[in-house]
């Protein structure tokens, strides 16, 4: 909210620099977001009277004027056509500087000397545009320094008023707080009115008991047609409020000054009728002052005259009963409406007005009468108006009774943690308008919405005394921390493994486009864009989007991972699952001039498989695999993985495998299908994995137990098996595992190849068996016996041949 420094100075003496003032405001909780200097560049503008206007001999559109500044005459050529002899206008004399640093020098216009310039409001930096030269009031003396006369220089402070400080949403309110901060007296609002008896009594009925706490109406007659005084115009413009006409300008002026919204009705629309505050009729329409038509419903409160809505209460006045140029008699409304319904009305109508934003944060019920009187004072002072006593003076029962808080000095001292004397507490509170009596504090009317419990008093004491004196104490109490959450521990272990192995960690949004969402369980009702409108079930869409972004920018050989959440709906309740997911493209080691190194693929099925085994070893699990054919839908569901149908087509057939630990499905990996990647405009091969950390965190890791190892040499025997491609190696592995002799310590593959010589349906796998005895050196014949027996059983079991 904008505040004019000149205006603030009307109520509180400010003798410090603007920077110091800003600092004081910030430290009192009034953050200054911007400092706007108005008219500070202006120089040498005086008021002048037009003595004569003659035609320019060589230009149809120019005239030659003679201007008097009281002592000297200036000849000035101008293109203005709204001036006449006798007008008083602002004159920039040579050496003057106008808005945006525009300098005025003596010059010639089409051969005629011109010593200065007649100014419009725009040239003085007051308005964006104007119609010709600014014709001033005839009363204004000639030859005065117009810049200070018209308060053209001002400093505007844009202050962010906190939601609980509705009382500071006005010049007077902020000045009141500032007077405490600066420890200087607050000047009073000037109110001196000659009151006349109310000429007519108006009835008022309040049908909005949950809305309207106070309503006053005053009749003000015989307001003479008046130009709004320059200073008032300046203050309004400085605070960002346009000037309309004298009557309306005064209501706005008093609103900005006191924070109490006012509304002026043309009295002819009110005279003789009943006034009421009531709920609108359903579908009732009203045309507002902004010329827009609002459709109302029964949640809206209106001010009705003779039953017809003439204003949306607290929000905007109606066009029909509004003040016109010709209006001389008005009905001035000052009221107190509650913030909650105003807030809702603002949202309903998409409208925030100077009035509604003040009601929204809560206004001072005691300010109603004061603001009405202040406006009356100004109508009388400037336009000789006849001011009547209140025609309507409604106050809901119980409203305005003083509110008090029970407190103890010890509690406040303890909460702050600083030894304060009672004086240290009393002084700031008293200055702020609180009254202290027998362990109770009476809250000033402008703070009742905000101060409801005693810690508020501690807050005020801190705010005024400052935080600097508060000591810094570390809370020494030791709270025994819970065991490190297993989920976090696993996440850290996995992240560290991934990072050590070349993966870049990414962080993405959990909201994705419906185009890439497999399901739409959880949808955002008010997304910023539909691209971010569905809660993701897993991280894959985001990883691929990030891959696409990088690949399009020549960032190849990607290895990316994220530990993040996926969301789903289970029994109509949102559920989140922590996943670690990653993708690889290109070469494992990226570009390398070492040819052997460059050849190793990163997007390869077996590279990823190996990575995952190692990763699980790192975190203490033995990773096993489950083929797509063997996996059951319930297992996948339990692991928060997509069911096969929903995700069909995502992987290349045959290059997709589920991961298990202790027979429990914990994730999946594979090579993504190029058709599927078309959605992302990715043409590189992409390998992908997904691990469910939530599930893994529930699995036990056994503490390793030592097993003695043999001190005797081992013996190796090889066998080359010719295996039909339809037979998966893991079947052989499992058979060996269950049928192996006691001396077989280790089995590994030393060779895999395909060749026409063994038939295109076959594959050759070279297996090495390592035999070892724990107690003695094995003799060849014992090894041979064991190896031959195992080989024979193996070949027979699967009907294989060896080479």
């Amino acid at each position: 909210m904008k505040f004019s420094l000149n205006w603030l100075k009307e109520y509180v003496n400010i003798s410090i620099t603007t920077d110091e003032l800003v600092n004081k405001l910030v430290m009192a909780g009034h953050e200054v977001e911007e400092i706007i200097e108005l008219g500070h560049e202006l120089k040498n503008v005086v008021t002048g009277k037009i003595l004569s206007i003659e035609k320019h001999p060589d230009a149809d559109k120019l005239v030659i004027t003679q201007i008097s500044d009281g002592t000297t005459e200036h000849q000035i050529v101008t293109g203005a056509n709204n001036i006449s002899v006798g007008d008083i206008v602002p004159v920039a004399i040579p050496g003057a500087v106008l808005h945006k640093g525009f300098k005025i020098k003596a010059s010639k216009l089409r051969g005629v000397p011109s010593n200065g310039m007649l100014c419009s409001e725009t040239e003085l930096g007051l308005t964006e545009s104007s119609n010709g030269i600014w014709i001033l009031d005839k009363e204004i003396p000639v030859g005065v320094d117009f810049i200070s006369y018209a308060s053209l220089r001002d400093t505007i402070l844009d202050v962010s008023i906190l939601p609980n400080r509705g009382d500071c949403q006005s010049i007077y309110g902020l000045a009141r707080d500032l007077s405490v901060v600066l420890n200087t007296p607050l000047k009073k609002l000037e109110i001196s009115v000659n009151l006349t008896e109310a000429s007519s009594t108006l009835s008022f009925s309040n049908e909005g008991k949950e809305f309207c706490d106070r309503y006053t109406g005053r009749i003000i007659r015989n307001i003479k047609p008046t130009e709004t005084p320059l200073k008032i115009k300046r203050f309004l413009q400085g605070m960002g409020v346009g000037t309309i006409n004298f009557v309306v300008d005064i209501t706005n002026y008093v609103l900005l000054e006191t924070g109490q919204p006012l509304h002026a009705f043309d009295f002819s629309h009110v005279n003789g009728y009943d006034v009421s505050c009531k709920q609108a009729n359903s579908k009732e329409k009203i045309k507002g002052l902004d010329s827009k038509t609002y459709e109302l419903n029964t949640e809206d409160y209106v001010i009705a005259i003779d039953g017809k809505a003439q204003a949306i209460a607290g929000l905007i006045g109606g066009d029909e009963s509004s003040v016109k140029e010709s209006t001389s008699d008005i009905f001035l409304e000052a009221a107190n409406f509650r913030s909650a319904p105003i807030r809702k009305a603002q949202q309903r109508h998409g409208l925030r007005t100077e009035s509604s934003i003040r009601f929204e944060k809560g206004t001072d019920v005691e300010a109603v009468e004061r603001a009405s009187a202040r406006a009356a004072h100004l109508y009388q002072k400037y336009a000789g108006a006849v001011v009547e006593s209140l025609a309507i003076d409604y106050k809901k029962e119980g409203v305005g009774s003083s509110s008090s808080i029970k407190f103890s000095y010890r509690d406040i001292t303890q909460l702050i943690g600083l030894n304060l004397s009672n004086q240290d507490i009393d002084n700031p509170l008293r200055q702020l308008g609180f009254e202290i009596e027998n362990g109770r504090v009476f809250v000033p009317s402008w703070r009742v919405n905000d101060c409801v419990d005693w810690p508020c008093l501690a807050e005020e004491v801190l705010r005024i005394n400052g935080f600097d004196g508060v000591p810094e104490v570390l809370p020494l109490e030791t709270v025994v921390p819970s065991k490190k959450e297993r989920k976090r521990e696993l996440r850290d272990l996995m992240s560290n493994f991934m990072i050590s192995n070349g993966f870049n960690q990414v962080v993405s949004f959990p909201m994705i486009s419906p185009k890439v969402a497999v399901n739409q369980d959880l949808v955002i009702k008010n997304p910023i864009s539909s691209e971010e409108s569905v809660m993701r079930a897993d991280i894959r869409p985001e990883l691929l989007r990030i891959a696409e972004h990088n690949l399009k920018r020549q960032q190849e050989h990607l290895k990316l991972f994220e530990v993040g959440k996926g969301f789903s709906l289970v029994d109509n309740q949102p559920k989140d699952t922590v996943f670690c997911e990653g993708i690889c493209t290109g070469a494992l080691f990226g570009k390398s001039y070492q040819k052997d190194v460059a050849k190793i693929k990163g997007d390869d099925y077996f590279v990823l498989k190996g990575y995952l085994v190692t990763c699980f070893k790192h975190i203490g699990f033995n990773l096993e695999f489950l083929s797509v054919e063997e996996a059951k839908e319930e297992e996948l569901k339990e692991a928060s993985l997509k069911n096969k149908g929903d995700d069909s087509g995502a992987y290349i057939p045959g290059k997709h495998t589920y991961l298990t630990v202790n027979k429990k499905v914990v994730g999946e990996f594979g090579i993504l299908h190029p058709n599927f990647l078309d959605t992302y405009d990715i043409s590189d091969q992409v390998s992908y994995f997904k691990l469910n950390i939530t599930i893994l965190s529930k699995l036990n890791v056994e503490i390793a137990k030592y097993r003695p190892f043999s001190k005797f040499p081992s013996t190796r025997r090889d066998i080359a098996l010719v295996i039909p491609k339809t037979l998966a190696y893991d079947k052989i592995e499992r058979f060996v595992e269950t049928n192996k002799p006691r001396t077989l310590k280790k089995t590994f593959i030393f060779d895999v190849f395909e060749s026409d010589k063994i038939g295109s349906d076959n594959r050759s796998i070279g297996l090495a068996f390592v035999y070892q005895n724990d107690k003695k050196t094995l003799e060849d014949k014992d090894v041979n016996r064991a190896h031959d027996k195992l080989s024979e059983r193996l070949l027979k079991e699967f009907n294989l041949s060896s080479r």
């Binding site: 909780g29 909460l415 959450e485 870049n504 993405s508 009702k525």
Partner: protein, 337 residues
């Protein structure tokens, strides 16, 4: 015979010394001491000399043989050494070529910042907990004293879900969950993603916060000040900080904490909007209404809470000027941290 031996010794000695390669030497060895060597011939002649001379002569021959063998071994060592040297000298590399780049990844700067913060606060006993992103209105607002018509709701541009849930607008709901499930003393921090429907250079619809909560029988603002001063000092070094009054519905008194702008050292620049200060924390004493909403007696417990904006701190520490860079995840960005 003795003369013969001496002559053989002389010739052999010369040829051993004259050997150029280890292969040459092998040939010389077999020529000198092998089956068909003159030396071996001499051995065979030993039986032809008088019986009494035999032992002496035998000794002599053996001594010469040993000597020659030693000479050969010595020479062989020298030759192998120099051959290895010259072979290594031929296998030259340009040692200035770069080494193989082993893949090493990077930790996202947001995660690094969270870890840095949780580590610092962990040292003074704050236990890290997890919260949930999807919350009900009760946890996100009501229980935190942000009632339905509270103007503070305007400060939270809330995303609503199709299920009567909201995406949490701050990490503060974690306070409520913690207090509902545990009794004081409580000393926790909760990092996590939060959501606001608001987006520009300095605002992202998704960002990270770290919530802190300390609840005990008696807790003072001085302890809040001590905790946050310690935290900021550890994070930024001894940078000036200031506490200024603010407002949050769930704390009273409330404060915002600024650090002196790290970009301009307080002189004023674009980053700090020419104020010389940067806001990095919101904090305050837990509002008594919040205690009531979790069933605590506000006359028996007190506490403080604070919220840290992670992105803001990461941006300051790394000199990042656009919050969107964090979520674009361009590798050229990620690799810098």
């Amino acid at each position: 015979m003795k003369t013969q031996l001496e002559s053989i010794q002389k010739i052999s000695h010369d040829s051993i010394l004259g050997a150029k390669t280890s292969i040459d030497l092998d040939l010389i060895k077999s020529k000198t001491l092998g089956k068909n060597s003159d030396f071996n011939g001499l051995m065979k002649l030993l039986s032809t000399i008088p019986k009494e001379e035999r032992p002496e002569m035998g000794k002599l021959i053996n001594a010469v043989k040993k000597e020659l063998e030693a000479q050969i071994n010595e020479k062989q060592k020298d030759l192998l050494k120099s051959e290895r040297e010259s072979s290594l000298a031929n296998q030259t590399i340009d040692s200035s070529l770069p080494g193989i780049e082993f893949p090493i990844g990077t930790k996202h700067p947001i995660i690094q910042t969270i870890e840095r913060i949780t580590e610092i606060l962990g040292r003074i006993g704050f236990d890290t907990k997890e919260g949930t992103e999807i919350e009900t209105d009760f946890y996100n607002f009501e229980a935190l004293n942000i009632k339905e018509d509270h103007p503070a709701r305007d400060m939270h541009d809330t995303f609503y879900l199709n299920t009567d849930h909201v995406l949490r607008t701050h990490t503060s709901p974690a306070q409520i969950h913690e207090m509902e499930t545990n009794s004081p003393p409580i000393k926790i921090i909760v990092p996590g993603q939060v959501f606001r429907c608001d987006s520009d250079v300095t605002h992202s619809p998704v960002f990270h916060q770290i919530e802190g909560l300390y609840v005990n029988k008696k807790v003072s603002f001085a302890e809040l000040k001590g905790t946050l001063s310690f935290f900021i000092n550890e994070l930024f070094g001894s940078t000036p900080i200031r506490f200024r009054p603010s407002y949050f519905p769930f704390t009273e008194p409330s404060s915002e904490i600024d650090v002196q702008c790290v970009m301009c050292q307080g002189k004023g620049c674009n980053v700090c909007s020419h104020t010389g200060w940067l806001e990095i924390l919101g904090a305050g004493m837990v509002n008594r209404e919040v205690f009531k909403s979790v069933g605590y007696n506000p006359d028996e417990v007190q506490g403080f809470a604070f919220g840290v904006g992670v992105e803001r701190i990461a941006m300051l520490m790394h000199g990042i000027n656009d919050i969107r860079l964090f979520y674009e995840n361009d590798r050229r960005f990620l690799e810098q941290f």
